[in-house]
C-alpha cells in the first residue's frame, strides 16, 4: 500500500504493508537514527515527533501515521551545526554509546515545548521511558536542564559547555537552576 508522510519537511510516498511499524518503515527509508532497542514500546529509543508529540515509532502501524508530519533525529541539527539540545548533550558528556540518545533528544524537544523551564523532577519523569544503560541518567538530566536554558533562557546560549566540575552537586531539588553551574 501507498502511504504519504512528511518526514523532516520532505514529502514521501512510501510503499509498505499497512501493519508495518513506523520505526521499520522509517529505518528502511534511511532514517536509521530511529533506533530499536526492545521488542517494541518500552525502551524509547525509537521516539520520533509525530505532529509534534514524542511517540515510540515502533509501537505504531504505518497506516496510523498516514498523512502525518514527522520529525526524526535527522531533522534536528547537522554534525557541524548542532541543535542546542544536541549541543547540551555533547557538552555535558551525556552521551556514551549513544544508542538511546536520538530518542532522548526527541523527548527533550517535546518536554521543552510544553515545559520551557522544567524542574529536575519533571525532567526525570519526562525521560522515564527513555531507557539508558550507560549513563545513570545524571548527565542527561543535567544536559536537559541546561538545554532548557539554551533554548528558552534569556537568549544567552551557554558556551562554556557546563564543563564538568566538582560543583555539580546533585541535591534532590525540584527548583530549577540549582543543580548546575551554568
Amino acid at each position: 500500500m501507498q502511504f504519504s508522510l512528511t518526514v523532516n519537511g520532505e514529502s514521501l510516498e512510501i510503499e509498505a504493508a499497512p501493519d508495518d511499524d513506523l520505526a521499520s518503515v522509517l529505518r528502511r527509508e534511511g532514517y536509521t537514527g530511529v533506533k530499536c532497542g526492545c521488542d517494541g514500546g518500552v525502551c524509547g529509543a525509537s521516539k520520533v515527533l509525530i505532529e509534534g508529540s514524542a511517540e515510540m515509532a515502533c509501537g505504531k502501524a504505518v497506516r496510523e501515521a498516514d498523512g502525518a508530519t514527522i520529525r526524526t533525529i535527522e531533522g534536528f541539527g547537522s554534525q557541524d551545526d548542532l541543535h542546542p539540545i544536541q549541543q547540551a548533550f555533547v557538552d555535558h558528556f551525556a552521551v556514551q554509546c549513544g544508542f538511546c540518545i536520538p530518542g532522548m533528544i526527541v523527548q527533550t524537544k517535546e518536554l521543552l515545548e510544553e515545559t520551557p523551564n522544567p524542574t529536575e523532577g519533571e525532567v526525570r519523569e519526562a525521560i522515564d521511558d527513555n531507557l539508558c544503560r550507560c549513563t545513570g541518567y545524571q548527565k542527561p538530566v543535567e544536559a536537559i536542564l541546561d538545554a532548557a536554558e539554551r533554548v528558552h533562557g534569556d537568549g544567552a546560549v551557554a558556551t562554556d559547555g557546563g564543563a564538568p566540575s566538582e560543583s555539580t552537586a546533585h541535591e534532590a531539588t525540584d527548583r530549577p537552576g540549582e543543580t548546575r553551574d551554568t
Binding site: D39, C43, G98, R133, G136, Q138, A172
Partner: protein, 814 residues
C-alpha cells in the same frame, strides 16, 4: 607497610617465600617512569581535559552507524531467526522443518544435523588463548540444557518471515530431569548436565558428576589455624546476589557476508573482535586470515558482548545461502538466552581480636554459572582476588569457590566481573563486625587497607589472575574524606516524622586495571602530508569514549590538536591486534600502546624537524601543531614536516609509528561509596536520597568522560541493590521477557549520583591513568545494606533490598 625488611606480623606462610622474593623483584618499588608521563595537568595540552567526545556529533545527529544500520547497504540481505529449546533439559529427537521450508521467502533452515552447521565444541567466552573457559557448547544443540538453548536457525528475505518460519518448526524432545538451584545442582544425586565426553578443554577442579565445572582455592598464611586461636572472635555471614542483566540497549547484532575476495566478513556489535575472529576460525575451520571482524558503533556491552554470542549463526546461514545475513537478537532473547551476571552466594568469615585487628579473612563463593561454563572460573576467581586485596595488611587470607551448572541460561562476563559479588559480602560483613566491636566502620577499614608501597600478596594468592603487585598509587584516604563531605556524613539530620529514620552507609572497593601478564594492545600511527594523522587501534570503543581517550593520548605526545587525528579502531583487517575491551584494560593497555606509537612517530617527526630547523633533535619538542626549539624558539609546522617527509628531494619517508604494550602490572583503582537512605520503620519503605561515589582512577585522561563512566557504573550497581534481576518460573522459563518485567530503576526512580574523581598518579599507566569504569559497579549493594542497618538496625544480606525484606526483618527484631 610490607617490605622485604618488614615481614607481616604473625605471617605464617605470608612471610616471604622464594616466590615472594621473586615477586618483589618483579615489582620493584622504584618504577622507571618516562619523563613525559608525569607532567602536571596544567603543563598538558590534551590529557586531563574534558575534550569533546570524538563520535558525539555523529551520535547526537543519528548519523552514527551501529550494526543494524548497515542493513540498507546490502541488497539481498537475509534475516535470521532462531528456534530455541522449550524445555530446560533433554535431547532433541526430531526437528521438522518442512512447514518452514515451504514458506515464501525462506532461504534455508539449519538444524544440529545440517552440513553447514559447525559441530565443533567451543566456548562463547571472548578470552585470551589458551581459553580459560571449557569448550562445552555447540552452535545448534541436540542436547539442550536450558529454556532458550539454540536448536535451529532460519534465514529469510525479511525479519517477519524468518520469525514466522521459526515458529513453524516443530521440535520433539526426550525430556530429562532438570535442576535450577545451584545448591541442589551441587548435591550428589542431582540430574547431571554434562556427560564425561561432552566437554573439551576442561577446567581445573571440574567434577561433572556433581555439575561442578570448576573449583578454585587460594590462601596466604593459615586461616584454619588462625580461626582456632584463643585471642580471636570468629564472625560469619552469608550474602546473595541477583542474576543481573547487561541490558545494553542495542541487542546483540551481527551481519555476516562473504566479499568479492572470498573473505568472510562480520560486522558485529562486539567487545572482542580479535578473539571472535580466532573463535570463528576454530568453529568453522577457516584460516584466521580469511575472516574479518569489524566493529562499528556499539550500543553498549558491559561484558555481555565479551562473548561470541550470536556471530556463528549468521555466518553459518550466510555460508549456506550465499547471501549476507543479519541476526538481531530480540529483547526477549536478551533476557532468556544471552548472558547475565553470575548469581552467587558468598560466605564471609573473619577472625578478629578484641581490639579490632583482623587476623584472618576467608571468603567462599558458590557461583551459578548456568547451563554453560563461559567465564565461570575466572569470574569466580575475581570474587576473591579483586575485593580482598583492599585489606592487604591482613596476614591470613583464603578464597575458595565452587562453580556449578544449573539448567538456567548462560552467565558471562559483566562489568565488575565477580567483584560486585565479593564486595557485597566483604564490605557488608566488615561493617557488621565493626558494629559488633563498637569500632567506627571507617576506622576499622583504615587500619587494614592498602597503602602506597605495599606488596599486595592477596591479589597473587589465586595464582595467575591478578598476580601479586606493588601498590604505587592509592587515593583511598582522599576518597573517604571527600565522599564523607559530599554526603554530609558529619551533619546528618533526622526527619521530623518519628517512624522515619535516616542513615548513611559506606563501602570501599578495589578492582584491577587489565589482567596482569595476560593482555596485549597495539596501535599504529601514520602521518599525512598535511600534518594530520591516522591512528589505528585494536582497542575497542563500545560507547565508553575509548576512541577519544586514545586521540587525547596521541595528541598529547604529538603536540597537535585532537581534531588533526582521525581514528579507526577495531577492524581486524586494518587495525593492529588487541585483546579487546574488558578487564578495565582499554585506557591502560591499549592507551599505552597508543602512547608508544605516538612516541615512535614523534621520533621521526623530530628528525625531520631537526633537518628543517637545523638544530639538534635534543633541542626540539612538539606542541601547538609545531616542532619548536626550546633553545632558540625557531619552529616548523607539522604540515611542513609532513610535506617534506613525503616529497623531500634528497630523502623521503612515510612517517609511521607503532606501539605494542603488555605488562605484568595491574594497579587497582579504588572507590569509596556512600549511600544516604531514609527508612520507614512501619512499612519498610525506603528512599535513597543520594549516592556519592569517590573514585581514584589515577589521572583521568578525560574527566568528563570518566565521570560519566563512574555514574553509569554506579547506576548499574544501584540496580543490583534494588532490582530482582532475571528470575525464573519453576519450569526454568525466564520470568523476565521485557524491560517492563525487568523492573529496573528508571530516571525518576534513580537517586541523584554524585561522582568525585580523586586524582592520583599511577606511574605504570599512560600519563598516570589506571582504570575507572568497573570499580564503581561494585559498591552500592553493600553501602545500601549498611545504610539500612544504620537507619533502622536490620541487616539485609540477600539482594535486592526491598521494603518487604526490611519490614520482615524489623518484625523479626521485635
Amino acid at each position: 607497610m610490607t617490605t622485604e625488611d618488614d615481614p607481616k606480623p604473625d605471617g605464617g606462610t605470608a612471610s616471604h617465600t622464594e616466590q615472594d622474593v621473586a615477586a618483589l623483584e618483579d615489582h620493584p618499588l622504584e618504577w622507571d617512569e618516562p619523563e613525559n608521563n608525569n607532567l602536571a595537568p596544567d603543563e598538558r595540552a590534551s590529557v586531563s581535559r574534558p575534550a569533546e567526545k570524538d563520535d558525539d556529533p555523529k551520535l547526537v545527529t543519528g548519523q552514527a552507524k551501529y550494526t543494524a544500520d548497515y542493513e540498507t547497504q546490502f541488497p539481498g540481505l537475509a534475516y535470521a531467526a532462531v528456534v530455541r529449546s522449550e524445555i530446560p533439559h533433554g535431547y532433541v529427537t526430531d526437528v521438522d522443518t518442512s512447514a518452514a521450508e515451504e514458506m515464501d521467502g525462506v532461504r534455508t533452515v539449519l538444524t544440529p544435523w545440517s552440513e553447514e552447521t559447525p559441530d565443533a565444541k567451543y566456548t562463547s567466552a571472548g578470552q585470551s588463548y589458551p581459553e580459560p573457559s571449557p569448550w562445552d557448547m555447540n552452535v545448534l544443540n541436540e542436547h539442550v540444557r536450558y529454556v532458550g538453548d539454540p536448536i535451529a536457525a532460519v534465514a529469510a528475505d525479511d525479519a517477519e518471515t524468518a520469525r514466522a518460519a521459526a515458529e513453524r518448526i516443530a521440535v520433539e524432545y526426550e525430556e530429562d530431569e532438570y535442576v535450577l538451584d545451584p545448591e541442589d545442582a551441587y548435591s550428589e544425586d542431582a540430574p547431571q548436565l554434562f556427560g564425561d565426553d561432552e566437554v573439551e578443554n576442561e577446567i581445573v577442579g571440574h567434577d561433572y558428576s556433581r555439575n561442578r565445572m570448576s573449583q578454585i582455592e587460594g590462601e596466604i598464611g593459615d586461616v584454619d589455624e588462625t580461626v582456632d586461636r584463643d585471642d580471636v572472635h570468629v564472625h560469619e555471614s552469608e550474602w546473595e546476589t541477583i542474576r543481573q542483566s547487561h541490558a545494553q540497549i542495542e541487542t546483540h547484532t551481527t551481519l555476516a557476508y562473504t566479499d568479492e575476495d572470498d573473505r568472510h566478513v562480520l560486522v558485529t556489535s562486539t567487545q572482542v573482535p580479535n578473539h571472535t575472529r580466532r573463535q570463528l576460525a576454530h568453529l568453522f575451520d577457516i584460516p584466521i586470515r580469511d575472516i574479518r571482524v569489524s566493529k562499528p558503533r556499539v550500543g553498549g556491552g558491559f561484558g555481555g558482548k565479551q562473548a561470541m554470542v550470536v556471530e556463528p549463526i549468521p555466518l553459518a546461514l550466510s555460508l549456506a545461502t550465499d547471501r549476507p545475513v543479519i541476526y538481531e537478537a530480540t529483547r526477549e532473547e536478551e533476557f532468556s538466552a544471552m548472558r547475565s551476571r553470575h548469581p552467587m552466594k558468598v560466605r564471609a568469615r573473619t577472625a578478629v581480636t578484641d581490639d579490632g585487628s583482623i587476623e584472618a579473612l576467608d571468603l567462599y563463593a558458590l557461583s551459578n554459572t548456568g547451563a554453560y561454563g563461559s567465564h565461570g572460573m575466572t569470574v569466580a576467581g575475581n570474587v576473591g582476588s579483586k575485593p580482598m586485596p583492599l585489606y592487604s595488611k591482613v596476614p591470613n587470607a583464603r578464597f575458595k569457590a565452587d562453580i556449578v551448572h544449573t539448567n538456567t541460561p548462560q552467565t558471562g562476563a559483566m562489568r565488575g566481573y565477580g567483584a560486585p559479588q565479593g564486595t557485597l559480602a566483604l564490605e557488608g560483613h566488615l561493617d557488621e563486625v565493626a558494629r559488633d566491636l563498637d569500632i567506627d566502620p571507617i576506622e576499622f577499614r583504615q587500619n587494614h587497607y592498602m597503602e602506597v608501597g605495599d606488596l599486595d600478596e592477596i591479589a597473587g594468592m589465586m595464582g595467575g589472575e591478578g598476580a601479586e603487585r606493588r601498590i604505587r598509587s592509592c587515593g583511598l584516604d582522599e576518597c573517604i574524606e571527600r565522599g564523607k563531605e559530599a554526603i554530609g556524613w558529619d551533619d546528618l539530620e533526622q526527619p521530623d516524622e518519628a517512624q522515619l529514620h535516616r542513615g548513611i552507609g559506606m563501602a570501599l572497593s578495589a578492582q584491577g586495571t587489565g589482567v596482569a601478564g595476560d593482555e596485549l594492545g597495539a596501535a599504529q600511527l601514520m602521518m599525512n602530508e598535511d600534518g594530520s594523522f591516522h591512528l589505528h587501534v585494536g582497542g575497542v570503543d563500545i560507547g565508553t569514549g575509548a576512541d577519544t581517550a586514545f586521540i587525547q593520548i596521541a595528541a598529547e605526545v604529538l603536540g597537535c590538536p585532537e581534531t588533526d587525528i582521525v581514528i579507526k579502531s577495531s577492524d581486524t583487517d586494518v587495525t593492529p591486534f588487541d585483546y579487546g575491551a574488558y578487564a578495565s584494560s582499554t585506557t591502560y593497555i591499549s592507551g599505552m600502546a597508543v602512547k608508544k606509537a605516538a612516541e615512535d612517530a614523534k621520533e621521526r617527526i623530530l628528525y625531520w624537524g631537526s633537518k628543517l630547523i637545523e638544530e639538534p633533535e635534543s633541542n626540539l619538542e612538539t606542541g601547538n601543531g609545531k616542532v619548536y626549539s626550546e633553545e632558540t624558539d625557531a619552529s616548523v609546522d607539522l604540515e611542513e614536516i609532513g610535506y617534506e617527509a613525503a616529497y623531500g628531494h634528497d630523502e623521503r619517508e612515510h612517517i609511521l609509528g607503532k606501539g605494542t604494550h603488555c605488562t605484568e602490572e595491574s594497579p587497582p583503582p579504588f572507590a569509596a561509596q556512600f549511600a544516604d537512605v531514609t527508612v520507614d520503620e512501619e512499612t519498610g519503605e525506603f528512599e535513597v536520597n543520594k549516592l556519592v561515589v569517590a573514585v581514584d582512577c589515577g589521572v583521568a585522561i578525560n574527566p568528563g568522560m570518566a565521570e560519566g563512566q563512574v555514574e553509569g557504573a554506579n547506576h548499574m550497581s544501584y540496580e543490583m541493590a534494588v532490582c530482582e534481576g532475571i528470575t525464573f518460573d519453576d519450569d526454568g522459563r525466564s520470568a523476565v521477557t521485557s524491560f517492563d518485567e525487568y523492573d529496573w530503576p528508571t530516571a525518576s526512580e534513580t537517586p541523584p549520583i554524585e561522582s568525585i574523581l580523586v586524582e592520583t598518579h599511577e606511574p605504570t599507566g599512560p600519563f598516570g591513568a589506571k582504570s575507572v569504569a568497573e570499580v564503581p559497579t561494585n559498591t552500592v549493594p553493600p553501602a545500601l545494606s549498611n545504610a539500612v542497618r544504620e537507619a533502622v538496625g536490620v541487616r539485609i544480606t540477600d539482594m535486592p533490598i526491598t521494603p518487604e525484606k526490611i519490614r520482615a526483618a524489623l518484625e523479626d527484631d521485635e
